[in-house]
């Protein structure tokens, strides 16, 4: 935010324009007994230079991926962002948060939306993608609402406990007043047992949600689970890691009906509190139930290629009471960044990025397991994250490692009390061997204290 001045002259001009003598005069309608009657107890205003220095000092207290070695994951990841992403996304023509409401007046924005959708379809192996949703959590919830509408089965929704805990909370909020039972299937072995799915799924189940790779980084038995889900006529909803699709099968190839994801890892920064980027793709037969905006390509009356928002009858601003979702917009700027990122990497670049993540994560898992007092939590195939269990106080350990310069991982204590000694460690392509070895050494020292 820029520092812009408001001079006493500016203030007088504004008051004169509206015909008021003072700011006090504007407040006379507020009863005197509820007014404070004195100035707020705040220090005197700073000059621009003072303010810049003050805020920089405050910001300097933060531990971030810029000044620490980041092994934190659990939904937001420290992947490399090529500078072309910032160069394109910061162009004035594109610099807007949402698709404008007079959408067709902004053909460039719509073209980006269309290309983004095309990239997400290619990535997931599914037929149709929307122009994005708010984040990975709301994308899961919207996918479930879609599945309820498509199957006409309001009764029951199944979700694996290995799905991101915050996504599950978001879903439970969405379902709270809808008379739908949300059943969480336990994953004590760090993955969802397909036999448990077979036992729990029935004819009233609209869908089952898994995350693959899951919150612990492990792969799920997606083919067996998908089959069990389809045998009961339910839909298979998969939350995936976009980067993982460089080496894993696309969701469309193993039977996912709706595939959703958090798209931060595609060229977007880790930002506390967001904005983040929800991705949603599905089979073409569900296109009329897809939430949010959908850009279509067509020709104008002169025969030129152009883009329009299409199928808007699904949106609440036309038939609010019949809408399949309340989302009428998208994350245009973040979707643009994702589109530029995927285009810059290309298919080969995505494969290489995914391979680097997987290899470095596997090296890190082996290296950390050699540290006395550390053991792997699960014996499952994984992608770029894994869980270690440590001796002693996890919070104290993580705080100590932060002081050593390592954001070592995410404690599972809050969301998985049975894994209170567990830490999810994420390793992206940015981590070096020296950094991984450095974490192992620091961990060993801290555990020996």
């Amino acid at each position: 935010v820029s520092y812009t001045l408001l001079t006493p002259d500016d203030r007088q001009t504004m008051l004169r324009t509206i015909g008021a003598k003072s700011i006090e005069e504007l407040l006379t309608q507020i009863p005197a007994d509820i007014r404070l009657g004195r100035d707020l107890n705040l220090p005197a205003a700073m000059s621009e230079q003072e303010l810049t220095a003050h805020v920089a000092a405050l910001a300097g207290k933060n531990h971030s991926a810029d000044n620490s070695v980041c092994f934190l994951g659990g939904g937001a990841y420290d992947h490399f962002i090529p500078s072309v992403v910032d160069a394109v996304a910061s162009r004035g023509e594109y610099y807007t948060a949402y698709t404008p409401y007079q959408a067709e007046a902004s053909q460039g924005t719509l073209q980006v939306g269309f290309e983004f959708q095309t990239l997400i379809c290619e990535l997931t192996g599914l037929d149709v993608a929307n122009a994005s949703l708010y984040d990975g959590g709301s994308a899961v919830a919207e996918a479930v609402l879609m599945a309820r509408a498509v199957t006409d089965r309001p009764g029951k929704v199944l979700i694996a406990e290995s799905v991101h805990p915050e996504y599950r909370l978001t879903l439970s909020t969405y379902l709270k007043n809808l008379n739908t039972e949300l059943v969480t299937l336990p994953t004590p072995g760090g993955y969802l047992d397909p036999d448990l799915v077979k036992k729990q799924i029935d004819d009233s189940t609209s869908c089952l949600v898994v995350q693959h790779p899951n919150f612990f980084g492990a792969l799920e038995e997606v083919e067996l689970i998908g089959k069990a889900v389809h045998d009961k006529g339910a839909l298979f909803v998969v939350s995936y890691d976009p980067i993982s699709l460089g080496i894993l099968k696309p969701p469309g190839d193993y039977g996912a009906d709706i595939a959703v994801a958090e798209g931060q890892c595609l060229g977007n920064y880790m930002i506390y509190g967001g904005p983040y980027l929800g991705l949603l793709a599905c089979r073409s037969e569900f296109v009329r139930k897809i939430p949010g905006r959908l850009v279509g390509q067509t020709t104008d009356r002169r025969g030129n290629r152009c883009w329009v928002l299409t199928l808007q009858a699904r949106e609440q601003h036309i038939r609010r009471e019949k809408a399949t979702s309340n989302i009428c917009t998208n994350q245009a700027l973040l979707a643009l960044r994702a589109a530029v990122y995927l285009t810059a990497l290309g298919p080969q670049g995505l494969v290489e990025t995914a391979e680097l993540c997987a290899r470095k994560a596997h090296y890190a898992a082996e290296r950390l397991a050699q540290v006395p007092g550390v053991k792997p939590a699960f014996d499952r195939p994984f992608f770029k994250e894994f869980v270690i269990r440590v001796n002693g106080d996890v919070t104290k350990l993580l705080n100590g490692l932060t002081a050593d310069g390592y954001l070592a991982g995410l404690s599972l204590a809050r969301d998985y009390p049975k894994l209170a000694d567990g830490i999810v460690v994420a390793v992206t392509e940015k981590r070096t061997k020296a950094e991984i070895d450095g974490l192992a050494t620091a961990l060993q020292k801290r555990l020996a204290l």
Partner: protein, 128 residues
Amino acid sequence: MDPKTLRYAKTHEWAALNGDIVTVGVSQFAVDLLTDITHVELPKVGRSVTAGAACGEIESVKAVSDLYAPVEGTVAAVNSDAAANPGLVTAEPYGQGWLFKITVKPGTKLDHLLDLKQYEDHVTHEAH
């Protein structure tokens, strides 16, 4: 179907009773209002429907409208040709553009619906 022998709902569906099966479509008047029909969403076979309650949708270049069941019963069949090619509904609302069939209880009558004369009076009134 001969429009003269059909019964009509005020919401512009027509109904034809044959044994315990009621065939349902939309009237020529509705088709004229909607102009080009682009999508019809029909109820699932086996689903129970209530007279006067929405059970599907019909979308045209002009508007999206609900489709109401004219009688109570269970959906026996849907016209998948019309779903695949909504132009059929525009072209032949009383013929190949029928929409769905409902199995009704034996002895069900369509007396609560309008005959052609009453329906025409109703739409004349509604048009003004």
